[in-house]
Amino acid sequence: MKVTRPELSWWERTYFPAILKGMKLTFSHIFRKRVTLQYPEERWTLPPGYRGQPVLLTGLDGHEKCTSCKLCQFICPPEAIRIVGGETELAKEKFPKEFDIDMGLCIFCGYCQEVCPVEAIWLKDAYELADYDRTNLIFDKEKLLAIGRKPPYLPGREKPLEEGR
């Protein structure tokens, strides 16, 4: 593409006018309204669909919905998810004996939520996950379930999946 550059006068070629104009602009900003959010005191209203802490959900029967299909483990770009599957007496046959998410690796992409066929994993609106110890960032099944949501779910977010097929 051909870009036509404006013909500049000698004065303009020194760039002083442009520089001064720019300085004026930046200076004027000093007096504008501040947009900073005073974080711990003020907080965002999170938009719906905000992708924060991934958690595990339970079904109406109180058991985790996860069937250990490992699609999330497969899709997870940073390989933050580790699942050990096992057989259960429940109708779903299979359940995760172990289910870890390494929050140190998680990039909150939400692929796991997207790919989960049973809507067992969900990115909740929690985002304050910092810790002093990396090992504390590996969230195991119990923890993920504990911070996960239990039915009955809040209205408006998403309807709980019908149990069974």
Binding site: G86, E93, K94
Partner: protein
């Protein structure tokens, strides 16, 4: 031969051959479920419907045979048959059948072990409609049916292709399975109280095109797309079935037969597969150990060669006749070559004998009573093979030192024989044991060499039919175990002897020198189906599959 056209491809096909076989042979995709190359043709899944010119309705490719037309009736002047697998008619038929198959098939792919290697899944993507038109409750049937000791049956997932039933009728000839009920309630079933319990029962899992039959041992272990597969050889009997070893994260999770008409067809026995279960119980060896008194001392490999040389050289039993060198039929050819070289260099005698361990009986299909995969290899290498099940205590009588490779002579012996061997070994000056697990024999050793398991190394094995096959490394040994040929290189070089490179290829070159059948062959020829290096003695034919 009749000239036919399938889609745009002109093919000369033998008369009487089915369309499906011809198409498969020429790389044309026709979906199918009930057809299996090693089983009879029933044509009941109706998935392989194709359009045949002149036929009023689509025909099943698996059962429609090719015939010759008289010259004046040839289609388009030259073809005996014109088949279309992609025409609107054919596609519609395939789509329709697939829709029917999926009607009552549960959508539990996330749970199903077959997901990832499921023909129903694959064809659904290729041929099916994205959405189901069924708006009714699916027909429910029992799940997790305990159909046999190694097989679990999910009735809902079954698409009634009857491959498993035909397998039991035609291959294992045990007939445990049948269809029961009828209509939409038709299901595969056993007789009450009689399980699917034959030595080949897991083959039904292999041939099940969906996840209806699952292996109890592999069930829910791992999703198949995580598995890393290598071609290998089963180690459990002299048949040496061609297998595929599927492993994940350093653990061998299952063995699946590879279709090899020369050896095992598409089948393998349950006993061979259960090696994954037996491996779990093994106390897998770590690093080289030397014993003085009752204390074991661990070594690094780099120091171990010298330690070995010193221990052997310093032992009073340095005369050749005082050494017993017992090899195993579990050693690969390369390891045998290594053992032979070590034996000649340090003990001034040739290695052997190789005990011929046998139990059970040969059956009509695959299982051999000789339990070592490489006995024929030992014979080819010129290493003497003992009498079948001959007691081993005689080998150690009067000897002062022993080198025992991959054979748990103590653990495998019984009663008085066991005591005799224990006594003989206990009285020796120097016992060197090399194995991949710390066996009972190893407890009596002065030197223990940790060997890589068969799944952790490459090697060539010759089965009783004289077919040489190569294994590949399925798993990197989590601890530092090595195949014996590498140990041999270490040992020989530590003493200043010439030795090949401590690699499979280095020693394989040495093997080629001593096995005439292998001399002219390349490694490539040993893959994937092996190579007949010896005329087989009265070869008993296995029912052949032709590449399912």
């Amino acid at each position: 031969m009749p000239l036919i056209r399938i889609d745009d491809q002109e093919i000369e096909a033998p008369q009487g051959e089915t369309i499906l076989r011809v198409a498969l042979k020429h790389g044309i995709t026709i979906p199918y479920y009930c057809y299996h190359p090693a089983l009879s043709i029933v044509g009941q899944c109706r998935m392989c419907l194709v359009e045949v010119k002149g036929a009023p309705k689509p025909l099943t490719a698996c059962s429609t045979t090719i015939g010759a037309l008289p010259p004046d009736k040839k289609i388009e002047g030259k073809y005996d048959m014109v088949v279309s697998t992609k025409s609107e008619t054919a596609r519609k038929a395939q789509r329709g059948v697939l829709e029917f198959l999926l009607l009552n098939h549960p959508l539990d792919c996330p749970i199903c072990d077959q997901a990832g290697e499921c023909q129903l899944q694959e064809y659904s993507y290729t041929f099916g409609d994205p959405a189901s038109r069924l708006e009714f409750e699916k027909v429910h049937a029992p799940k997790r049916v305990d159909i046999g000791p190694h097989v679990v049956f999910d009735v809902e997932r079954c698409i009634k292709c009857t491959r498993c039933i035909r397998f039991c009728q035609e291959i294992s000839k045990t007939g445990e399975l049948t269809l029961s009920e009828r209509g939409v309630h038709t299901r595969v079933d056993t007789f009450p109280g009689r399980k699917l319990d034959n030595p080949y029962s897991v083959c039904t899992v292999d041939i099940c095109p969906v996840g209806a039959l699952t292996s109890r041992e592999f069930r829910f272990k791992e999703r198949v797309w995580f598995l890393k597969s290598v071609n290998s050889v089963c180690q459990e009997c002299a048949r040496g079935c061609s297998v595929r070893v599927d492993a994940y994260k350093g653990e061998v999770l299952r063995l699946v037969p590879r279709d090899n008409p020369q050896v095992n067809g598409p089948w393998m026995c349950d006993y061979g597969r259960l090696i994954t279960e037996r491996m779990k119980g093994l106390d897998l060896a770590g690093r080289p150990l030397l014993r003085s008194g009752s204390a074991w001392q661990g070594y690094e490999w780099k120091d171990f060669g010298a330690a070995l040389v010193e221990r052997v050289g310093g032992s009073p039993a340095s005369k050749s006749e005082s050494w017993a060198v017992v090899l195993s039929g579990r050693l690969s050819l390369e390891e045998m070559a290594g053992a032979q070289a070590v034996s000649q260099a340090f003990f001034k005698r040739s290695a052997g004998p190789v005990p011929d361990v046998a139990w059970g009986e040969d059956d009509e299909l695959l299982i051999r009573k000789e339990r070592r995969p490489n006995l024929m290899g030992a014979r080819l290498m010129g290493i003497p093979v003992g009498e079948q099940n001959a007691p081993l205590s005689g080998l150690f009588a009067g000897k002062k030192a022993a080198l025992i490779l991959r054979e748990d002579v103590v653990g495998d012996a019984q009663g008085a024989e066991k005591a005799a061997i224990q006594k003989a070994l206990g009285a020796m000056d120097l016992v060197i044991v090399a194995d991949s697990s710390f066996t009972e024999t190893a407890r009596l050793a002065h030197v223990f060499i940790p060997l890589a398991g068969w799944h952790e190394m490459e090697g060539v094995y010759v089965n009783f039919l004289g077919v040489a096959q190569k294994t590949a490394r399925a798993v990197v040994p989590p601890r530092d175990r090595r195949p014996f040929h590498e140990v041999a290189s270490l040992w020989l070089t530590a003493a200043g002897h010439d030795a090949p490179e401590p690699t499979f290829l280095g020693w394989h070159a040495r093997v080629k020198e001593s096995v005439p059948g292998l001399a002219e062959t390349s490694i490539k020829e040993l893959l994937p189906h092996g190579l007949q290096v010896l005329d087989a003695p009265a070869k008993k034919k296995v029912k052949k599959g032709e590449g399912a």
